[in-house]
C-alpha cells in the first residue's frame, strides 16, 4: 500500500511531509517527556521485529498464495501511540531508502497512511473496543478490528492522495472501489493475524511474558502488550481525539466533495443502460413520490450543491469542481455524521460503563 513518487504531485507530497513531520516531532517530544530514557531502545528493537515478522510467510486461506504481516497496528498496540509512530516511521524510512518500497517524496504520505493513522487515530480507540474487561479474547478482537480499520482508512487516503495529485486519469469511484475492495480482503487477513498474536500474548501463552518479575516490574510496553493501552494519561485524550477527527472530517468534507463525480455513478449508469433514461419515471401519485417530495424539502442541499449554481448555467463542467456549495455540503455532511456518532457513542457508553483494567 506504499505510495510511489511517480503518482504524487509536489503539493500533495510536500503537504503530507509537513503533516507527518509535525506528528513525528510531537510524538518525539511526548515520548521524551513520558519516558526520558525508556522507550528508544525498546522501540528500536521492536521496529526490527516488523522486518523479521515479514520473513514469516503464511498461507492465505482460499487463495493458494502466501502473505505476511504488515505489522503497523501491532507495533502501535505494543508500544503505544508515540513510540509506535516513531517505530513505524523508521521502518518506512528504511523501506523507502533501502528497498525502494514507496518513494522519498511520498514518504510523508506513507508515514501518514501507515503510521499516523494506526498509531494516533486507531490505537487510542482500542481501549474503548476492548473496554468490557479482562477477558483475553477482547484485546485480540479489538486489535484485529483496529488493524482492519487502519488499513481501510490508509487505503482510502492513498486514493485521495493519488487523485489530488492528478497523475493518473483513473476516475475516483473506480479507483476507490478497487483500492478499498482489495484492502478489505487484505485487511481481514492482517486483522485475523494481528488478533491472534495479541490474543496469544494477552492469554499469557508467550513464555517470555509470563515471567513473574516482568509481570510485577515489567516495562509499560509489556503491560500494554498484555492488555492493550489502557494506562491513564497515555495517548490523546478523548476531547483531543475528537478534535483531530473533526479536523480530518472537515478537511475531507470540504475538499473531497469537489471530486465527487459529476458523471453518473455506477448505479445510475446501470439504470441508464437498462432503461435508456437517467432516472426511472417516478410514480406520480404513489407513496414513493410523496416520500420524494418530503426528501426534497428536507434536504437543504440536494445533489451536493446550492440550487442553480453557476455550473448548471455554463453547461460544461470541469472536474474537480471547486465550489463553495459542494464544500458546504461536504462540511455539513461531516458535521452531521460526527454529531450522530457522538450521540450514539454517548448512548452506548451510558449503557455499559467502561471498567478500568489497569
Amino acid at each position: 500500500m506504499h505510495m510511489s513518487d511517480a503518482l504524487i504531485s509536489p503539493a500533495v507530497g510536500g503537504g503530507f511531509w509537513v503533516v507527518s513531520t509535525g506528528a513525528i516531532v510531537y510524538a518525539a517530544t511526548r515520548l521524551r517527556k513520558e519516558s526520558p530514557a525508556g522507550a528508544p531502545a525498546i522501540a528500536g528493537v521492536l521496529a526490527g521485529f516488523v522486518f523479521a515478522a515479514q520473513m514469516i510467510n503464511f498461507a492465505v486461506p482460499g487463495t493458494g498464495s502466501s502473505g505476511h504481516l504488515g505489522g503497523g497496528m501491532l507495533l502501535a498496540i505494543v508500544l503505544g501511540p508515540w513510540a509506535g509512530l516513531i517505530a513505524v516511521a523508521s521502518v518506512l524510512m528504511v523501506q523507502a531508502l533501502f528497498f525502494a518500497d514507496g518513494g522519498l517524496l511520498a514518504l510523508g504520505c506513507n508515514i501518514f497512511n501507515l503510521g499516523v493513522i494506526p498509531s494516533l487515530l486507531v490505537a487510542p480507540l482500542l481501549p474503548v473496543l476492548s473496554a468490557s474487561g479482562r477477558d483475553s479474547q477482547q484485546p485480540g478482537l479489538a486489535g484485529g478490528v483496529g488493524a482492519w480499520f487502519a488499513l481501510m482508512i490508509g487505503a482510502f487516503m492513498v486514493t485521495i492522495q493519488t487523485l489530488l495529485s492528478e497523475k493518473t486519469a483513473l476516475p475516483f469511484s473506480l479507483f476507490a472501489t478497487a483500492m478499498l475492495g482489495i484492502h478489505a480482503a487484505i485487511g481481514v487477513v492482517e486483522g485475523v493475524v494481528t488478533a491472534l498474536v495479541v490474543a496469544y500474548v494477552a492469554r499469557g501463552r508467550v513464555a517470555e511474558m509470563r515471567h513473574p518479575w516482568r509481570r510485577r516490574h515489567g516495562l509499560a510496553s509489556c503491560r500494554r502488550a498484555a492488555s492493550i493501552p489502557v494506562l491513564p494519561g497515555e495517548g490523546p485524550t478523548a476531547p483531543r481525539l475528537a478534535a483531530v477527527f473533526m479536523v480530518i472530517a472537515i478537511m475531507l468534507g470540504t475538499t473531497v466533495s469537489w471530486f465527487a463525480s459529476t458523471q453518473p455513478d455506477g448505479l445510475e449508469w446501470a439504470i441508464e443502460r437498462i432503461h435508456g433514461e437517467a432516472e426511472l419515471a417516478a410514480d406520480e401519485a404513489g407513496i414513493a413520490a410523496r416520500l420524494g417530495r418530503l426528501q426534497e424539502r428536507a434536504s437543504f442541499l440536494p445533489d451536493y450543491a446550492f440550487p442553480a449554481s453557476a455550473e448548471e448555467e455554463s453547461g460544461a463542467e470541469s472536474w474537480p469542481v471547486v465550489d463553495a456549495g459542494r464544500s458546504l455540503s461536504g462540511l455539513s455532511g461531516a458535521l452531521i455524521t460526527i454529531s450522530l456518532v457522538f450521540v450514539v457513542a454517548g448512548l452506548l457508553m451510558r449503557r455499559r460503563p467502561i471498567a478500568p483494567t489497569a
Binding site: 513525528i24 518525539a28 521492536l46 520473513m55 486519469a169
Partner: protein, 238 residues
Amino acid sequence: VDPRALLLATLALLVALAAESRHAVVSLPPFALFPLHLVVLGRIRLGLLGRRMLVALPFLAIMALPAPLLETQRVPTPWGECALGWFTGASLLGRGVIAISAALALSTILDIPRLGAGLRGLGCPAALVTQLSLLERYLLLLGDEATRIRQAARLRALAGAPGLRLAAAMLAALLGRSIDRAERIHLAMLQRGFTGLLPHPPLAPFRRADAVYLAGWLGFVAVLVLMRPFDGMIGRIP
C-alpha cells in the same frame, strides 16, 4: 560526497520530477542523468539495480496500463494519431523508473550511519535518528531469530507456508523474544549511562566541493523546471 548534499539533491530532483505534467514523456530522459551519475559514483552493478527495480514496478504497471482506455482523446504524433492515455501511461512508468532507480542508487551509496548523520545535519529529530540506528543494529539479529523459528517449524515436518493460526503463534513467539531482547538491551544500556539518545560522531564539515556538487544539481534541476528546454518538441503535450 556529503550525505546532506546527496539527500538534498535527490529530494530536489524528485520534486521537479513530480512537478512534470502527467503527459510529459519527452522531457523525462534528462532526469535520468541523476540516477545514472549515482550509479557511476557508487560503482553500482546495473544487474542488481534492475532486479530490485523489477520488484518495485508491477504496481505502477497496473496503474499505467488502463490509461489508454481512460483517456481516449486523439493527439497527433510523428507516427500518426494515438490516444492521450498512452502518454499518461508512458510518463507514469518513466517517472517510476527514474524515481525508483534514484532511491535505490542512493541507498547503495549511503549506509545507515551516514544516512543518520545526514538526516541529523538537516535537522531531523534526534529521537528518529537514534531509532534508525537501533533499528539497523537489531534488524539482522531479529531476522536470525525469525529464521530459527521458521526452521524449527519446518523441522517438525511442516511443508510449505504455515496456516494463519500457526503463523500467529510463531509471530507471538517472535514478538515475545523481541520484547525480551529489547528489555535486556534497554537495561544494559541504562546501566551504561544511556540517556535516551545515542551519541553521534560529529558530522564532517560541509566542504566547498559538496557545495559545488549540490549547486550543480540544483542548477540542473532549475534549468529543467524553469527553462523547459523541451517545450515545443514533438510529442510534448502541454
